[in-house]
Symmetry: C2
Amino acid sequence: MAGTPTVYDVAGRAGVSIATVSRVYRSPESVREATRERVLVAARELGYVPSGSARGLASRSTGVLGLCFPDYSDPDAESEAAAVDADDDHAFMLYSDQIIRGMERAARRHGYALLIAASLTGGPESLVAKVAGRVDGCAVLARTVPTEDLEVISRRLPVVMLAGPPEQDGPGGLDRLDHIEVANAEGQRELTRHLIEDHGLRRLTFVGGIEDSPDAEARFAGFRDACRAAGLPVPDEPDLRAELMTQAGGARAAEELVDRAGPDGLPEGVLFANDQMAVGALHALARRGLRVPEDLAVTGFDGIPLGRLVQPALTTVRQPMRRLGEEAVELLVRRLAEEQRGEPESLVLPVEVVRRASCGCGHEA
Amino acid sequence: MAGTPTVYDVAGRAGVSIATVSRVYRSPESVREATRERVLVAARELGYVPSGSARGLASRSTGVLGLCFPDYSDPDAESEAAAVDADDDHAFMLYSDQIIRGMERAARRHGYALLIAASLTGGPESLVAKVAGRVDGCAVLARTVPTEDLEVISRRLPVVMLAGPPEQDGPGGLDRLDHIEVANAEGQRELTRHLIEDHGLRRLTFVGGIEDSPDAEARFAGFRDACRAAGLPVPDEPDLRAELMTQAGGARAAEELVDRAGPDGLPEGVLFANDQMAVGALHALARRGLRVPEDLAVTGFDGIPLGRLVQPALTTVRQPMRRLGEEAVELLVRRLAEEQRGEPESLVLPVEVVRRASCGCGHEA
DNA sequence: TTGAAAGCGCTAACAA
DNA sequence: TTGTTAGCGCTTTCAA
């Protein structure tokens, strides 16, 4: 009676059994109105709030879905966004923000709350494990959680992997994971096709990342497809790999491109594997006195808001991040309804080429 | 051994007691390395993940902080944002997004995860109660949760109210709630002063909301202060109250202002209680063929990203929503460290006037 | 419609 | 360093 009140306290005060108190909260209509009222009054007087932990333990479900995402604070993403727009850097959404929003909405529709955590340490007591233990199902942004942990977690609850490649793995591996990604290759292919066919560009350069980002690789593959289809030379490797796929990395890549410009001069178009790099490049090129798109076209990938605000506005491929979150929830909810776990699903969401000024298109539209 | 594995399964397999298994996860260094290894291996083989519910129940703490926010889907906020920027409406962050981001970061620093839920129903089984039962402390956006529920919840765990007025209530009321808000009155006063002193405007109109929004009222108070200080007439009531503080509401208010323009003609400046309305007004005025700021100045309040993109860019007062989230976490963490609950705290965060074109300032800066 | 009783899976003393 | 033993507060049969 001293600490926080429990069912027992409420039951005592209302003159009913603890089972009845429990019923009042779980299925009010199964309790006679008068009784229910009495319980609710007692609860209110006592300041009773059902313990989620106890409920979860007893009922083996939490009513919560989880999201693990990387500690996505690319320091120069933030500081340079601020530089371009010192006015309000916080106007910009990160991917994680959009996914969170999508998941929260969808989760709410299904009566779930959302538990979010950026990956921190790893180790036995990782945040991930913490999340996994407190939710009924969970979405994980690719490369956030050590594969090994994922393997363990996915044996206990449905896990959907977001935005990474489908599990490439061997025996005993992550074959049980669902997976949602966006159409990286198709998007990059279509964007490349646009540059080639609609703008008549032929000497194109693709800038990837050095880290083995599956997204970047898929985009490169799309680039190659488009080159092949157009009868242009098909590179085996990206012409350049930025060390970091950040604005700084993109700026450095652009510098290098300019410096190494051979007898043919600059390429007619540079396709960056993401918007961050493209934006950095735009700045670097301007500093070098080069005009975009007159001297060369520049494109990105992702569709970050910043891309609209730079000069010239960035042509890119937009990923439907919010939908990614929504679809993740739908998938989890479906899984949770199954009595037996079915085959892993893999969903690919369509992307959209956004033509703005940096590729030579007139208007933003 | 059939269902999800528990400490007992792991203990059995590793040949140790359940206490040891528990220790491996809670304080690895208190277990001999060899033992620990054995446990970890067994856990991995079994697919063991500690149950958050059980831990929470046994330890009486969850390691999770919560946030309840309103179901913030102003339908025309979304659709009109889309109209202005059909290209990517989802580029815009809502308040809740920013607060979430702030809280998540701060929570992470302190080792907490974040549970978020938009208020849905109310009633015994409300989402709020659900959240409250699963967290160690919780932030609530003003007017999200019925006062009565808050009263109950706050007896069980620390609750910090965000962005509302300090609790105005009577005996037995919410006197135990901490509270963080932004300097509404000060911001509006400073903005008004700017119009009066720097732009020399004298005939000003304030447009509030009809619903009793404490924020809007505080802003109106700031407006009055500035008028008084400047020796201008001090209205008792806002000259106009929009039915909804949305873009549609603002547009309607602007229409009315134009229609009722008496012998003196239009006011020289119209101050809206929020950005949404101001943006709507900007559209409406343009449709009427009026020029802003030449024919009249327009200002908002909030600092929503959309304000930068409209024509002319909107002069406003920016609220530090992200910091609101961070401060909320700091406060909760502080509360959780106390052994005895101290006096309620009330924090007021400073705001910033953002001078853009709509008030007659030349540049966005 | 209500009650009694047996766990749910873990932590936290306390012992050993 | 490790094991034993009570609970933590609730849900859930099963009876009444």
